[in-house]
């Protein structure tokens, strides 16, 4: 009861805050949501891997970078639009993920947990530097007309293309939730994640499940890579900052809480854009990301101790 009332209060407060923002600084909300969509869409696949396979994939961002390069050169060669490349890229990266899992991560799963961390760190270096060697550090960007799609409300004009990330984030979050709670494979994956030993005893092939989850996550990363290409220029280091941000968002939402990543992203996206909208606080927008993460984690740990 108490818990429910608190949720209701929080919901009411956030709706009130959002409404106030729409009236006062509509762009904060628009750009905040767009930023949040991108954060969440990239973080969700990492959350899936962390929640079930229990590894922090430090090469997460690099995987997206690889996908974006694959999509770019695929599109260039075939004259495709990156949007058309989403599905093929997802398939390619899923296969790539499966192979990487079988060749490397699988072998490290029995070792101490930290080994997986350092293994993926090594992979991240190898991936980004290999791309650097082949394609140099110069940036590539698809010139696309539709990414400048514009909308006017009153006297403000803003870009609408980035809302596509919001849509993708929602699809990822609810698609995955559906997959994990309603399908047999998904339920099995969750069971394996919660209790690998138990799952092995009842005859589930744990490594196969892990491999599939990893491949699924990379498929989502691949789809995001192609989509990311519409909006951003690509270069060897383009992915790495997303690893840390995603990791932070997942910690903020709580491990295993995939829809929570959406909430965390919205909070951070809007808060950042709120600070950016005012001259005195402009330069401090970045700090809010880290401060909020610490506050949320500390608050949750305090609450956890009380109960």
């Amino acid at each position: 009861m108490i818990v429910k009332r608190r949720v209701a209060i929080i919901a009411a407060l956030s709706i009130a805050a959002m409404t106030a923002l729409i009236v006062w600084k509509p762009t904060v909300l628009i750009y905040g949501l767009q930023a949040a969509g991108l954060y969440a869409a990239v973080a969700i696949p990492m959350g899936l891997v962390l929640g079930i396979v229990h590894i922090v994939n430090l090469a997460h961002g690099e995987c997206m970078m690889l996908a974006a390069y694959a999509a770019y050169f695929g599109c260039k060669a075939l004259g495709m639009d990156p949007l058309v490349a989403i599905l093929p890229t997802a398939i390619v990266t899923a296969i790539f993920g499966w192979v990487v899992f079988q060749l490397t991560i699988r072998r490290a799963l029995k070792a101490p947990e930290l080994n997986q961390l350092i293994l993926t760190f090594g992979l991240a270096i190898a991936f980004s530097q290999a791309i650097n060697l082949i394609f140099t550090s110069q940036t590539y960007k698809m010139p696309l007309e539709y990414v400048s799609a514009s909308m006017d409300i009153g006297d403000i004009s803003f870009g609408v293309w980035s809302f596509v990330f919001v849509a993708v984030a929602i699809i990822f979050a609810y698609g995955l939730t559906f997959f994990l709670t309603k399908t047999m494979t998904g339920k099995a994956a969750v069971a394996v994640g919660q209790n690998p030993r138990g799952a092995a005893i009842v005859g589930i092939d744990v490594y196969r499940t892990y491999g599939l989850v990893f491949a699924l996550a990379l498929a989502l990363v691949g789809a995001m890579g192609a989509l990311f290409l519409t909006k951003s220029a690509i270069f060897p280091g383009v992915g790495s900052p997303f690893t840390m941000k995603s990791f932070c968002l997942i910690a903020m939402a709580g491990i295993g809480n995939i829809p929570g990543i959406l909430g965390a992203s919205v909070l951070l996206g809007v808060a950042e854009n709120f600070l950016r909208a005012f001259r005195p606080t402009r330069d401090w927008a970045e700090i809010v990301f880290f401060v909020l993460i610490i506050v949320v984690i500390l608050a949750r740990s305090l609450k956890g101790r009380k109960s």
Binding site: T139, K141, S148, S157, G159, P236, P241, A277
Partner: protein, 403 residues
């Protein structure tokens, strides 16, 4: 192109001992994973090959030994030590990021050999760390300092407004990336344009996509509210197109839209948004038409590496080697005092379109290039607008409003 790189790598490895007696050794330090360092080192090697083909210097061959600094101060310091003590190079060339350059300076000072620096624009740190003459006399800073760049832009815009009365600039907005590069641009802009009563200036920072940012909405909102005549962004190549696309989406179309990145993305000129975007730079392929030195450099570079030089760091490094070679010829030795004296008399007609000489800057005694150029993307190519003596085209104004 791959083969060229490989050849260079092999050369750097094996040539060393073979020619030990009859060579003049140049130690090159760049960040090789970066396009600027990769092409800078390649261009320097091109210059070395050309000079050797023409008979070398003082009857000796030149030899370039390249070591990567990985953009890190400690690795850069190790690179200097290795070149100075293991390879026993006679002179140094290279440099790009100020952070790595700062790591080299203590070691450079220790060895007191001539350094021809192709990068490091940060006056607040690098120039300060070098210190005044005579302790920094060995250091020849080819690249302009940040304040040189600022001053030359102020000069350029004055000249352009005089020559083309239809171009009127009163309000300037600078969107600067939040790192050292953008911040020093902003500092220089504030000092140079802010002191001038004709201009009102404003600025805001953004996080470059290169450093994990890429969200330009807030900075463009601020710019749009300011309604500038001249909008400048100081960021990196990764920001170029996304920034334009976002500007179009937000219907922000200033009279002059200008970018000041160290390099531009591949195929930028092919974008429909690129026409009439202006830029700050030092060199463009258009200069091949009216500058023989540039044409020669370009032709030989493409012939050797099967790719076009993508940044001005390539001709800059190329020039650095020629300047050193000329200086050594004039001095008859690589001994520092004599070589410094000879280099002080340098007059080198560079592919960058200006004759390079060395003059004192705010702190150090040997500053090379001080002027940058104002260019414009026209029909997919960068055309030089100012300085007028190097101009390859007239400016198109205003920047077309989004249709």
């Amino acid at each position: 192109m791959k083969r060229g790189m490989f050849a260079l790598a092999v050369l750097a490895l094996f040539v060393g001992s073979a020619y030990a007696q009859g060579t003049i050794k140049i130690g090159g330090i760049w960040t090789l994973a970066d396009i600027t360092g990769k092409q800078g080192s390649a261009a320097a090697q091109l210059a070395v090959d050309e000079i050797n083909a023409a008979g070398g210097v003082l009857g000796k061959k030149l030899e370039l030994i390249v070591v990567d600094d990985e953009g890190k101060a400690d690795k850069a310091a190790a690179a200097v030590e290795k070149l100075a003590t293991v390879d026993k190079v006679d002179v140094f060339v290279g440099g790009m990021a100020s952070g790595a350059e700062l790591g080299k300076i203590p070691a450079f000072k220790k060895y007191n050999k001539v350094v021809m620096a192709t990068g490091a624009a940060g006056s607040a740190t690098v120039e300060k760390a070098l210190g005044p003459s005579p302790e920094s006399d060995f250091y020849f800073h080819l690249h302009p300092w940040d304040y040189n760049q600022g001053a030359s832009y102020a000069e350029g815009w004055n000249a352009i407004q005089q020559k083309y009365p239809n171009i009127q600039i009163k309000k300037i907005f600078l969107a600067y990336e939040e790192g050292a590069f953008g911040k020093s641009s902003w500092d220089a802009t504030k000092v140079l344009f802010g002191g001038d009563k004709r201009y009102t200036i404003d600025g805001a920072s953004f996080k470059s996509a290169l450093l994990g940012g890429g969200d330009y909405t807030a900075v463009l909102e601020a710019a749009k509210a300011f309604k500038p005549d001249l909008f400048i962004w100081a960021g990196y190549d990764a920001d170029a197109l996304p920034l334009l696309e976002q500007s179009k989406a937000m219907k922000f179309s200033p009279g002059i839209y200008l970018g000041a990145p160290p390099g531009w993305p591949i195929d930028f000129g092919a974008s429909k948004l690129s026409p009439n975007v202006m830029l700050y730079g030092m060199w463009s392929t258009a200069m091949n038409n009216n500058n023989p030195s540039s044409a020669k450099f370009f032709k030989n570079y493409v012939a050797k590496y099967k790719e076009e030089p993508a940044t001005y760091f390539a001709p800059l490094a190329y020039s650095a080697v020629y300047i050193l070679a000329d200086g050594i010829k004039a001095a008859g030795t690589t001994e520092t005092t004599a070589l410094v004296k000879a280099l002080e008399a340098t007059k080198y007609a560079s592919p960058l379109g200006e004759t390079i000489t060395f003059k004192p800057s705010n702190i150090i005694k040997h500053q090379g290039i001080t002027r940058q150029k104002i260019l414009q993307w026209q029909n997919g190519e960068q055309q030089v607008i100012w300085p007028f003596e190097a101009a390859t085209a007239a400016p198109v104004y205003p920047f077309p409003a989004w249709k």
